[in-house]
């Protein structure tokens, strides 16, 4: 066999990111199987992985894991490049942005729960923005806002508690 001219060196970090992204994709797929009351309301379990990665390996790794999860999850669920994918990407990017800023705040004051809740708000906020600007312009989303934000609050809280618990066990 002709040896390849391209040298791809796989670092330990690459393997770690791939493993973690695979875990996140797994959670995304499990979540897709759960019947949900309203489109747009879901627990966002994969964000547990993103947050743990953020705390343990830094923001860059979290961005990698999150984006790989969104793309691979989109491919696996057959939503790649559909509006659903755009929603997922916009939510993911905005929550990563918020997490990147919040993680610099003092750890003694801001724990995983605060970050998780605020990232969940950023997530649903960006998604509602995409809906109102691109998908359904002119539809009055204000009556639904409380419902979506309430769901984000609850899932952010639960996910944040899971993350805090995981980090405590394995510092």
């Amino acid at each position: 066999m002709t040896p390849s001219t391209i040298e791809l060196t796989i670092t330990e970090e690459d393997r770690r990111i791939a493993t973690l992204a695979a875990a996140a994709v797994g959670l995304t797929l499990v979540e897709a199987a759960i019947p949900l009351p309203l489109p747009g309301i879901k627990p966002g379990l994969a964000n547990i992985v993103t947050l743990v990665v953020l705390y343990q390996f830094g923001w860059r790794a979290a961005v990698w894991v999150s984006l790989l999860r969104i793309v691979a999850g989109g491919l696996a669920l057959g939503t790649f490049l559909t509006p659903t994918f755009v929603m997922s990407l916009s939510g993911g990017l905005s929550s990563l942005l918020v997490l990147g800023l919040l993680v610099r705040l003092p750890r003694r004051l801001f724990g995983p729960v605060g970050l998780s809740v605020l990232a969940a708000f950023a997530h649903i906020g960006a998604q509602l923005g995409v809906v109102s600007i691109w998908l359904m312009p002119g539809v009055n989303l204000v009556p639904l806002l409380a419902l979506f934000l309430g769901a984000a609050w609850l899932s952010g809280l639960v996910n944040g508690l899971v993350v805090a618990n995981l980090l405590e066990k394995k510092p």
Partner: protein, 119 residues
Amino acid sequence: MKPVLRLLRPADWLVLAVSAAGIGLLWNRGSGGDRVLIKQEGRVFLETTPRLDREIAVPGPLGDTLVEIKAGRVRVKADPGPHQICVKQGWLMPGQVAICLPNRVSVERGASVYDSLNY
């Protein structure tokens, strides 16, 4: 309960409390009054009262979406879209919106507020 609460830092509490208060305020803020708003392609197709029984055909790219108003209630009776999500939603609660996305029709039931004449 104790070990779970220990995981929360001071600012976490603040974030939770402030956002919960904000959501509560949003939740209680009724808007619209007693009315039915039908939109097509984002433009207001018809604004009417739920007190007048009738059926309205809203033309969209796939065909007509049939909106039924009966006994003060509103629902999407029939829609040419494939998933029938807005039809399955049934009668709308005040503040609810039924969206027939493929046909680009939305039906909005205004939230009920005090009727100043009768209250």
